[in-house]
């Protein structure tokens, strides 16, 4: 188990990168505490798998260093780093039994059979694999195969970090939830540093204490699930997290206030740097309500998704989504929208520009 530090990490798949676009990863600095549960969240192609492969040693970064407990491991191969990785598709050794699969990493490291037996039994118990230990791994269901892949990672006691690369992709929806809570439980039991890569916000937010959101090879925001939800540092995070994502509405700044369609919208705090750039108001649909006064709009679509209703309204030519618990308005109805000021953020060129309340 170890603390992981990424220092000035850059990576390009081209032999001779010049422009920033040539880099799959642009200057990553990160500190991951020993025993933490982290998620790397971002859309496909944002560089999260590249980052993961650099940490595991499958890729050597173009620049920068990877430190485990302040020891530089940048040029060490994967088997020397003592890490474990679970891949998108379950990797199992077809011809072996489940037991032999779990024992494989230990046998390769010449651990004695008695220790192997104790370790494998313990891990199998944790993963609820005990009654299939002596079956051929090839015949098991995908979720059990994936559990074996995880087990192979956890079976080594001294493992520095366990990494998951979208491990639930091939798992049936009803088993996804089960396996996800199993993972969380495992993390509490073994207290290993775990990094979970995914593009699914639910997976990231339920698994991790800290979520790292990435876009185009850069880290956009690092925070707890609550922080990411409440105060996205960038409109991208606002869009990406939440269902539906944050409303991002173009606005005009004048007289120290924000105006949308000529209506003054109160912000959480004052604009921190009053320079130009594109300004936008960001507010989650959860914090927009209907009122007798406020921004006039017309309801264009009502979707009842069970727990609540998602209502799309048009304020002029700006689309604003609203979430209400009950009494949804009719389609075509004229309404007034009320934004909760404490949850109304200002973004300048995509980055948050409004000061926190009371500052």
């Amino acid at each position: 188990m170890a603390k992981i530090t990424l220092s000035k990490l850059r990576h390009s798949y081209y032999p001779d990168p010049k422009t920033p676009e040539d880099y799959a990863l642009k200057e990553i600095d990160l500190d991951w505490q020993d025993g933490g549960a982290y998620a790397l969240l971002g859309p496909s192609g944002c560089g999260k798998s590249t980052l993961l492969n650099i940490i595991s040693g499958l890729l050597t970064p173009s620049d920068g260093a990877v430190l485990f407990d302040d020891r530089d491991v940048t040029n060490l191969p994967p088997d020397k780093r003592n890490i474990a990785q679970v891949f998108q598709f379950p990797v199992i050794y077809d011809t072996m039994t489940a037991y032999d699969n779990l024992a494989f990493p230990l046998r390769n490291r010449r651990v004695d059979e008695a220790t192997i037996k104790a370790r494998v039994t313990e891990i199998a118990e944790m993963l609820e694999l005990t009654d299939m230990l002596h079956r051929r791994a090839a015949g098991l269901s995908p979720d059990n195969k994936q559990k074996i892949s995880m087990g192979r990672g956890l079976v080594r006691e001294d493992v520095n970090v366990v990494m998951f690369d979208e491990p639930l992709t091939v798992i049936d929806p009803h088993l996804k939830w089960k396996l996800r809570s199993k993972l969380k439980e495992l993390h509490q039991k073994v207290r290993a540093t775990m990094i979970y890569v995914t593009h699914d916000q639910t997976e990231a937010l339920t698994f991790a204490d800290q979520v790292v959101v990435m876009q185009d090879g850069e880290i956009v925001q690092i925070g707890t699930p609550v922080e990411l939800f409440e105060r996205p540092a960038h409109t991208f995070v606002g869009h990406f997290i939440g269902s539906p994502g944050m409303n991002v509405l173009p606005c005009e700044m004048r007289d120290g206030g924000a105006f949308l369609n000529g209506v003054n919208i109160p912000l959480e705090g004052s604009d921190r740097h009053e320079t130009g750039g594109k300004t936008e108001i960001g507010i989650r649909p959860e914090f927009v309500g209907f009122d007798t006064v406020g921004l006039p709009a017309v309801v264009s679509k009502v979707s009842d998704i069970g727990r609540h209703c998602v209502i799309e309204t048009m304020a002029g030519d700006v689309k604003v989504r609203v979430i209400v618990e009950d009494n949804p308005p009719e389609q075509g109805q004229s309404v007034h929208l009320n934004f909760q000021p404490a949850q109304t953020r200002l973004y300048r060129d995509g980055w948050i520009a409004s000061a926190r309340r009371g500052k």
Partner: protein, 286 residues
């Protein structure tokens, strides 16, 4: 209420016809010959299982069968491991892939009798490239028309040259279908190269390898053209394989009865070996 009728049989009919004409009828003709004695003027006399009995008691048949198994065994023992080694050492991506693949496929595109003729000329002691080199440059006495060992070496090397590519291409197809994650996981698990070969590559190649071995077995067990063109079964009878012997009996001596009986036994052996092998290979998967 379920209605039942026999209409479904109509849909099977075309296939039945097809199979009848390309398999059943020809085989039944052979069966017909195998139980009769044939004379000129289309005279046939009932012989029962006599030909089978004679054949199974004849030394000539067993020595040809023995040579056949030796040939098939030798080429399998060389082509399969060699094919795997070549497939493993071929590049998985990049510029050289198509070049390797085409080079590999070339020998297979050459017609069988041409292969025989090519090797015949190639190995002529006085003018053939290989024959001349061995005899006059290296000073090794090599003449496959005189020396059975030389004849055997030549037909085996010729078959290896002609057909190893098939094994290579099938194994290569099996290898490239292994996702990278397997190699990465093995690296992380600390597996040696041997363990990667034993626990990832061989299991993933198993199906194509089974097909490769089956194809090479059936093909080499029934081989006729190449050794016939190359050695004509000689010197003496030393390279007279089953099929060459069969043709000698059927066309050379025009003994249709014994030849038909031999064909059926030949066919039964090929079928039996293939079936046993396939069943053994696929046993674990069920």
């Amino acid at each position: 209420m379920k209605t039942e009728n026999q209409k479904a049989w109509l849909f099977v009919l075309p296939v039945l016809f097809l199979v009848a004409f390309n398999a059943l009828i020809p085989i039944m003709t052979v069966v017909n010959y195998s139980v009769q004695e044939t004379f000129g003027n289309n005279l046939f006399f009932w012989e029962g299982l006599g030909w089978f009995e004679k054949l199974l008691n004849s030394d000539r048949f067993y020595s040809a069968l023995g040579r056949q198994f030796m040939f098939t065994g030798s080429i399998l023992a060389i082509e399969i491991p060699l094919g795997i080694i070549i497939a493993l050492s071929m590049p998985r991506q990049g510029f050289w892939v198509p070049i390797c693949l085409v080079t590999m496929a070339l020998p297979m595109l050459i017609p069988w009798n041409v292969v025989g003729a090519m090797w015949n000329i190639f190995t002529l002691p006085d003018i053939g490239l290989l024959g001349y080199f061995l005899n006059h440059v290296l000073g090794v006495s090599y003449d496959m028309t005189q020396d059975p060992a030389a004849a055997w070496a030549t037909i085996i090397i010729m078959d290896v040259w002609h057909w190893t590519s098939l094994v290579v291409l099938l194994c290569y197809a099996g290898l490239v279908s292994i996702p990278d994650a397997y190699y990465q996981a093995a690296k992380i698990d600390g597996a040696s190269n041997w363990a990667v070969f034993r626990y990832i590559q061989i299991p993933k190649m198993k199906n194509v390898l089974t097909i490769a071995i089956l194809l090479r077995f059936m093909d080499s067990f029934n081989i006729y053209t190449e050794p016939f063109v190359l050695t004509g079964g000689g010197p003496g009878n030393s390279t007279t394989l089953l099929s060459i012997d069969l043709v000698k009996i059927a066309l050379g001596q025009f003994d249709l009865g014994p030849a038909a009986a031999m064909s059926l036994i030949y066919f039964a052996i090929t079928l039996l070996v293939s079936w046993v092998f396939y069943t053994l290979m696929m046993k674990d998967d069920r």
